[in-house]
């Protein structure tokens, strides 16, 4: 049996109030871990798509998938193996930092400076979650004031 591995699970659910809490309740009730969770309606349908990043052994993941499937408003659940995964993050820097260095770094991670104010600039990058980790490590020296991560979204290739 494999150890605790990071997994990405997509869940297609019927759009109605309480569906999200059914899913998060299931995770907490059964002691499963949620690393990140994103949810948004699927265009032109009555369904929404959740992307859940979780971790666990293959047996735990199998149970998570089966238990999610048991929920009445859940249409489809699948674990991604061959996937394209992206995450967005917004970072606020003081205007006094080296803006051109920040911008160069952002570009290397599919990003740019998206907003500027009298005291700060806001940069955006969108990349694989692991690369976002690296990016956040690299920008520490620019004294970021706030960081917001979106959580991962994924599509099977």
């Amino acid at each position: 049996m494999s150890g605790n591995v990071r997994r990405v699970v997509s869940v297609i659910v019927y759009n109605e109030s309480s569906t999200l809490s059914r899913i998060t309740d299931l995770f907490s009730a059964r002691g499963y871990n949620i690393v990140s969770l994103t949810v948004a309606p699927i265009p032109e349908s009555k369904y929404s798509r959740l992307t859940i990043v979780t971790s666990g052994s293959s047996r735990v993941i199998e149970q998570i998938i089966k238990q999610l499937h048991k929920l009445i408003p859940v249409l489809k659940v699948y674990e991604h193996e061959d996937l394209v995964e992206k995450e967005m993050t917004l970072i606020k820097f003081p205007i006094t930092e080296n803006i051109s260095d920040i911008d160069t770094l952002c570009q290397a991670y599919n990003g740019k400076i998206v907003n500027a104010g009298p005291d700060m600039v806001i940069a955006m990058v969108a990349d694989e979650p692991k690369r976002i980790d690296h990016f956040l490590e690299a920008i520490k020296r620019f004294h970021p004031k706030e960081i917001v991560r979106s959580g991962a979204v994924a599509l099977e290739r």
């Binding site: 309480s18 809490s21 047996r59 149970q63 089966k66 009445i72 408003p73 249409l75």
Partner: protein, 564 residues
């Protein structure tokens, strides 16, 4: 024509051919109760506590296989019913609980008797609804019945705000249920079934592991035929008692923590487990890594999440047991030679001879096991049996000669003390011809004792037999065995006079100290035909044996308790 939400609830009951509803009125559900008053299509049984209403609905559902219905009010009415929902969820019992809710305009304001009911019931129901528009009610009610009884059955909770029960809308119950996201698999995969049959034919020591799912699927008689035609022995789980019938030569006994030595040894020695509608509960398996260690596992279950959850299945088959057996049985009959298993059956017989389920009559006091055997001798098939939770429950599962499915009804998964009496009322309402016996303990009976009033008022003559040892016996047993006899808060020496208690409600009561008195009391109670308590003074320190200590291996049983 437009009708009110409350009227819709009544119309749905009629359309679903509900004949009995259990419940308790209150502020938020008064519109519905007003419509109940006006109708005569179904009977409403007023319990004296909401928990009892839900347990009675469970008892009714367990006895009939139909969906049981309970109606309760908001706030405390609902929270009192939650134990029943949780109980039904754990034991996969199809019930519908309709609760009132404060009006929509007051939701979220901490109104009088407001509680987030669907928030609470979410984790202990198969599904739940908060209905915010009466126009949704016909669909919701119809879906609820469909969801409760199909797939792996379970409880569905519908919460209806008071203004929604007053709101007018069109009622059309004819539209079929369309649930794109809910389509239980009922037909088993033919290829897997064929592979499973090959495995059965190749096995030397196959064993049926029969679970409660067989009862839900109404497949007990198919299983009997299957076992007989293949000559394969069977063990039953607690909830599956009655599947094979006590006099069936292929039935070993119950397995698990308080299963028989032979059943647990058979499970430890088998080379092929044929699990039907069972879920490898921890009280059954004991230590997982040692459970049926040398065996391959065929697992047939309607719930895919039950398969390979705890024990990996080599032959997983998702489907309705009855439908799977329709395919599996003819194939097995062709391929399996029953003669082949004779040595295996002999081995099991030796296990049975070595340590049969037994007890010793070594004191002047009545032994609790004797009471159960005696009820079995006197009533047998003529009685429906419920129990509460504790020692008496295990002794009943061990010693009552269950002869048919749905004869037996007890809180297995949740282990709810106080379940037995209200459930017995539901059973009696469903099956008035048979004697309804609730075997209980001096601890459990007090947890829903108020139902004496319901039983008297509704003329539901349940016979409660208290195996009274003046202890919270099962906890006392664990304290004796595992806590160095520190009997913390389990001595129930201070007790009511159960005879007078029953009489004060208008029922009958007997205090029994000898076997002769017991026979006479039971006979008298059946003749009197009123709700009864037979308070039997039994041996105080009797333990439920044999026993697999929690987390131990099935083959490593404590066979009897010896004073150190």
């Amino acid at each position: 024509m437009q009708i009110s939400g409350a009227q819709m609830v009544i119309e749905a009951m009629i359309a679903e051919e509900v004949t009995v509803v259990f419940g308790y009125p209150g502020g938020a559900i008064m519109n519905v109760y007003d419509e109940i008053y006006k109708q005569d299509s179904f009977k409403h049984i007023l319990t004296r506590h909401e928990q009892a209403a839900v347990h009675a609905a469970e008892g009714y559902a367990q006895r009939t296989g139909k969906v049981g219905v309970a109606m309760i009010t908001s706030g405390p009415g609902f929270t009192n019913g939650v134990t029943g929902l949780a109980d039904a969820y754990m034991d996969s019992i199809p019930i519908i609980v309709i609760s009132g809710q404060v009006p929509m305009s007051l939701i979220g304001t901490d109104a009088f008797q407001e509680i987030d009911a669907v928030g609470i019931s979410r984790s202990c129901t198969k599904h739940n609804y908060l209905v915010t528009d009466a126009a949704d009610l016909p669909r919701v009610l119809k879906e609820a019945f469909h969801i409760a009884r199909t797939g792996r059955p379970g409880p569905v909770h519908i919460d209806i705000p008071k203004d929604v029960t007053a709101q007018l809308a069109e009622f059309d119950y004819s539209a079929p249920v369309v649930l794109e996201t809910y389509k239980p698999t009922t037909k088993g995969n033919t290829r897997q079934i064929k592979k499973a049959v090959e495995a059965i034919a190749a096995a030397k020591r196959p064993l049926f592991y029969l679970g409660g799912g067989i009862i839900s699927a109404e497949a007990a008689y198919d299983v009997r035929e299957f076992a007989k035609s293949c000559g394969i022995p069977a063990v039953e789980t607690f909830r599956a008692r009655g599947t094979m019938g006590a006099d069936n030569p292929l039935l070993i006994s119950m397995l698990g923590m308080h299963g028989s030595y032979a059943a647990n040894m058979a499970m430890s020695e088998t080379d092929l487990v044929i699990a039907l509608g069972a879920r490898f509960d921890d009280r059954v398996t004991g230590k997982l890594s040692e459970f049926a260690k040398g065996a391959d596992i065929i697992h047939v279950d309607i719930d895919p999440a039950s398969i390979s959850k705890l024990v990996n299945a080599d032959y997983p088959i998702v489907g309705d047991i009855k439908k799977v057996l329709e395919v599996m049985m003819p194939l097995a009959k062709e391929k399996v030679d029953p003669e082949k298993y004779t040595p295996w059956l002999e081995t099991i017989e030796n296990f049975e001879k070595l340590h049969p389920l037994s007890y010793r009559e070594d004191t002047d006091n009545i032994k609790p096991q004797w009471v159960i055997e005696r009820v079995g001798e006197l009533l047998g098939d003529d009685a429906n049996i419920t129990t509460d939770v504790g020692q008496h429950q295990m002794w009943t599962a061990q010693f009552y000669p269950f002869s048919r499915p749905r004869q037996w009804n007890s809180s297995g998964g949740l282990g709810t003390m106080g379940y037995g009496f209200p459930a017995a009322l539901g059973v009696k309402a469903a099956d008035p011809e048979r004697v309804s016996i609730n075997i209980t303990g001096d601890g459990s009976i007090l947890m829903n004792i108020q139902e004496l009033m319901t039983a008297v008022e509704q003329k539901l003559p349940v016979i409660n037999i208290i195996l009274n040892n003046n202890y919270l016996g099962m906890v006392r047993q664990w304290q004796t065995l595992f806590y160095d006899k520190r009997h913390s808060e389990t001595d129930l020496s201070v007790q009511p006079d159960f005879v007078m208690l029953s009489q004060s409600f208008g029922g009958a009561g007997y205090r029994v100290k000898t076997k002769e008195e017991f026979d006479a009391a039971l006979k008298d109670a059946i003749e009197k035909n009123v709700v009864t308590i037979i308070d039997v003074a039994v041996e105080r320190m009797e333990n439920v044996m044999p026993m697999v200590p929690s987390g131990g291996s099935l083959f490593n049983m404590m066979l009897e308790y010896k004073e150190k």
